[in-house]
């Protein structure tokens, strides 16, 4: 079965109209404009287009209603939104706010297969003893949500956060040694641990472990990347 997909904008309108039409006041142009953060004339134009597609039942200055086809599509989008948000909060452990934001962005692109597999993964983690706890522990050591995109030296990259090497700004002989060991621009790198006395550090790069002093790590620039290596 081929699923008819609308543009992301159209889906947003349908979803908003569905939500507002369930209130006592009904969905009105002004409210829609406010919810979507656009100007009322824009809303009018969009509603006109949706009416032409047979999705919206619209009369100027009255409440906006959905046609049966429009309602089905709106409910579909809303369902995807809820499924995504639930996956983000319950399985990925994101905050309500982050989850809401991410769900709004991804609801238009998530295919039924993706949603199905996400739900299955959540069920798998919940129904197999100890899995959820392990995943939670791994998530917490990774601390991936912290400031992606930040640039710092490798020395300042917190253990468990991975980074992309931007430059290796050290003296000739040492630079040769570092690049031949695989620390080249563009490679993913992560600090695994710091020695008990606080100096050399152990990093993961290209699937193996390498140790270097902090003085050397201070000269390697990295851009933080969320997630594990």
């Amino acid at each position: 079965m081929k699923i008819e997909r609308l543009s992301a904008k159209a889906e947003d309108y349908l979803e908003t109209i569905l939500r507002l039409s369930e209130t006592l006041r009904g969905a009105r142009t002004g409210d829609i404009a406010e919810a979507l953060n656009v100007q009322p004339p824009t809303v009018s134009a969009a509603l006109k287009s949706l009416t032409e597609q047979g999705l919206v039942d619209y009369t100027p200055y009255g409440a906006v209603g959905l046609t049966p086809k429009g309602r089905q599509l709106a409910e579909d989008v809303a369902g995807r939104h809820v499924a995504l948000r639930r996956f983000f909060t319950d399985t990925l452990g994101m905050s309500q706010e982050d989850a809401e934001h991410a769900a709004c962005g991804m609801e238009h692109d998530a295919t039924p297969l993706v949603l199905d597999r996400m739900a299955l993964l959540g069920d798998f983690l919940r129904t197999h003893p100890g899995m959820m706890e392990k995943w939670k522990a791994m998530r917490e050591t990774a601390r991936g949500e912290r400031a992606p995109g930040v640039e710092s030296s490798l020395k300042e990259l917190p253990p468990g956060v991975r980074g992309v090497v931007m430059s290796v700004d050290v003296a000739d002989s040492l630079r040769k040694r570092l690049v031949e060991m695989g620390v080249t621009p563009g490679v993913l790198i992560a600090v695994e641990r710091v020695a008990p006395l606080g100096d050399p550090i152990a990093v993961e790069v290209r699937g193996y472990r390498l140790s270097m002093r902090k003085a050397e790590a201070a000269r390697i620039r990295v851009k933080w990347r969320p997630g594990l290596i």
Binding site: R175, K176, T184, P196, R206
Partner: protein, 685 residues
């Protein structure tokens, strides 16, 4: 150029990264035929073996383990020179299948060398357990040489590997360069290569890349060097990063490309493996160091406690042999020859052989720690502390071993890669109080100090030695070995259980080198010292009533003692102490025996030591006693140490420099302490 169809003699070089399992494959192929030596001029081990397969003579050479062929270290220079020497029929690169990407970086350079290459995909069983499988046929096509899966612990695949290597050599098929450096770089490489007129295409390309990579090539045409410098500057500006980085990126691009093409299975996450779990314990923020101290205690215990009984058996055996010779020797005939055999040769051989149990156990422990991967962690744990002293994390193990005996400690400095770190460690390790010096302390401390002070004096002496080591290390770092500190960029290899076979071979190789090289020097100097302690002979030495002290006084050593008396008087020593110190050069514990002889008490062992202590108390003040111990601690190390230093630095200059330097330091420190003590009125009995 390698188009020989039926070569009657093949030279097969074994190349690969450190920890790729290269040496265990070599051991499987070489069996008992191997020979260990050094590359000329440097203390880099050269392992080779001669084999015969189907009537073809094969010389197999185990190259030093390297990450690159850029000739930045002595090991890399040797590997590169051997491959390029023109004698190599084929190179076998050992690839660690669990760490393929970094291993293939070396392959990228190897394919530029213009020799046929065969590949051993080692530890593919371990990779399979991690969920990785390889398409060997595809890999062979991409790398331009046969790929044979091998297993270093069982020897599986070794026969097939050698057969493939022979085929590759016989085919004479050169492994073409497989790395594409990108349009801009390729254009520049071709331009620079065209300047090498006398070279063939492969060699010209290699040397052009070398010049662009910043490797000095003294024989390159000046046109090539100039062009390379100009183009390098242009490309660096354009790429926004140094050219060597751009070249390395391209090589790693090749490596990653091959891995992506040939590896199948779930991605290998380092973070979920056994090594991570072990490191979480062994490198733990709190438990890491206590565990390390415990493991080192085990090593130390193993080496010096377990080694003690066999050492005593050997000494007892040699003693029995000497007694036997004396007993059967026809009385009165050639007493000098008897003395030479018994005291000189057997005594000298004893000096070499009695170390052997300790050395074997030490090398066993080191081989085990190295082969499991823990040695790299030791350096990781101790680097901060040792770095402050001007040393390297790996310097810790030799200094620890130095608490037992300096000779194996100096041999253990081979673990250090940088020459500066290695030489500094060799030169300061003798300051760590060894077991032989403990026998001196054990005699002198109870002679002069009240029981409640004894522990403190002993502790103070050990600390003084460590302080001297730190001071001298910093001094050397600031002067002779000045310059940038060796970087601490070191692989932390995965933990692996070594096979006993490989540990045993590893241990035996090093022990044999010790016996061969250090042994001969120790023996020679022991005989020399015997001669000094025997000649010139007292005219009436045949008479029994003549005291041993008088005979000794008459000999060269006795005369040396008297001769140096003016020099050592400011330290509070008389000629008797001087004689004992001269004798202590053979071995520190001889000091005790010599003191016994000069005070006519015979050998100072067992029951005699109490009477010797009383005699010493009558003749010397506690301050003089302290000065003696301090001097023994800091002064010229024993003959064996000098021999080991000569062996490991490959230079008499360093060995003699150590001798003179340490004696000078000992004299100065003892002088200051003794004179200060006298001024402060501590010189009384």
């Amino acid at each position: 150029m390698n188009g020989r169809s039926m070569p009657s003699r093949l030279v097969v070089l074994l190349a690969g990264n450190p920890n790729s399992g290269k040496t265990s494959l070599f051991n499987w192929m070489a069996g008992a035929h191997q020979h260990v030596g050094n590359y000329p001029g440097v203390t880099v081990e050269k392992k080779s073996a001669r084999l015969t397969r189907d009537g073809v003579e094969i010389e197999l050479v185990d190259l030093p383990g390297v990450y690159s062929l850029l000739a930045a270290s002595p090991e890399e220079a040797i590997a590169r020179d051997e491959i390029l020497s023109g004698t190599a029929s084929v190179v076998i690169q050992v690839l660690d299948a669990t760490n393929l990407e970094r291993n293939l970086h070396l392959t990228a350079q190897l394919t530029e060398m213009g020799v046929p290459v065969a590949y051993a995909l080692n530890m593919s069983d371990e990779a399979a357990r991690n969920g990785l499988e390889f398409d060997l046929e595809r890999m062979s096509g991409l790398l331009g040489g046969p790929v044979v899966p091998t297993n270093g612990s069982t020897g599986e695949g070794v026969g097939a590997l050698l057969a493939s290597a022979r085929l590759a050599a016989a085919g004479g098929q050169l492994c073409p360069s497989r790395v594409y450096y990108g349009a801009d770089l390729e254009e520049v490489i071709a331009a620079v290569a065209s300047q090498f007129e006398g070279d063939d295409a492969v060699s010209a390309r290699r040397r052009a890349i070398g010049l662009l990579d910043g490797i000095s090539d003294p024989h390159a045409p000046s046109g090539a060097a100039d062009l390379a410098a100009r183009e390098a500057a242009r490309l660096e500006k354009r790429g926004g990063r140094p050219l060597d980085v751009q070249l390395a990126e391209a090589r790693y691009g090749f490596a990653l490309g091959v891995v992506t093409e040939v590896a199948r299975g779930t991605a290998h996450y380092v973070r979920c493996d056994r090594t991570l779990r072990l490191d979480s314990l062994l490198l733990h923020r709190v438990w890491g160091l206590p565990l390390f101290v415990f493991l080192m205690w085990i090593v130390f215990h193993l080496v010096f406690t377990l080694g003690e009984p066999p050492m005593q058996w050997i000494e007892a055996g040699l003693g029995a042999l000497s007694d036997g010779i004396r007993a059967v020797w026809p009385a009165g005939t050639a007493p000098l020859l008897q003395s030479l055999i018994v005291d000189g040769v057997i005594g000298g051989v004893g000096g070499v052989v009695s170390f052997l149990p300790n050395i074997l156990l030490l090398f066993l422990a080191i081989a085990f720690l190295e082969d499991t991967g823990y040695m790299a962690r030791v350096a990781f744990l101790m680097d901060r502390l040792m770095h402050k002293m001007g040393l390297h994390g790996k310097s810790f193990i030799p200094m620890l071993i130095g608490l037992g005996c300096t000779v194996p400690a100096i041999l253990a400095t081979r673990m250090l890669e940088s020459r500066r770190d290695r030489f500094t460690t060799i030169l300061v390790t003798p300051f760590v109080s060894c077991g032989a010096r403990l026998t001196i302390y054990a005699l002198l401390i109870p002679s002069f100090f009240a029981p409640r002070w004894r522990g403190w004096v002993l502790w103070g002496l050990y600390m003084a030695g460590i302080a001297a080591a730190i001071g001298v290390a910093r001094l050397l770092r600031g002067t002779v070995f000045r310059g940038e500190q060796a970087p601490f960029v070191m692989e932390l290899p995965p933990y692996r259980m070594p096979t006993w076979r490989s540990v045993a071979i590893h241990m035996w190789d090093r022990a044999w080198m010790y016996l061969q090289k250090a042994g001969t020097v120790i023996l020679a100097i022991s005989i020399l010292l015997w001669a000094l302690g025997t000649f010139p002979r007292h005219p009436e030495s045949g008479r029994h009533e003549l005291a041993q002290a008088e005979i000794l006084e008459y000999t060269a050593i006795g005369r040396i003692g008297k001769w140096i008396e003016p020099a050592i008087r400011p330290l509070g020593f008389d000629w008797r102490v001087g004689t004992a110190l001269a004798g202590a050069f053979a071995a520190k514990e001889v000091f005790v025996a010599q003191m016994g002889i000069v005070y006519s008490l015979g050998s100072a062992s067992g029951d005699d030591s109490d009477s010797l202590r009383q005699t010493l108390r009558l003749h010397y003040t506690p301050l003089q006693g302290l000065a003696m111990m301090l001097f023994c601690l800091l002064s010229a190390p024993c003959v064996a140490t000098i021999a080991a230093t000569r062996r490991e630095t490959n230079s008499w200059g360093w060995a003699l420099g150590m001798l003179l330097g340490m004696t000078a330091i000992a004299w100065t420190v003892t002088f200051l302490i003794y004179q200060a003590g006298m001024r402060l009125g501590w010189g009384g009995f």
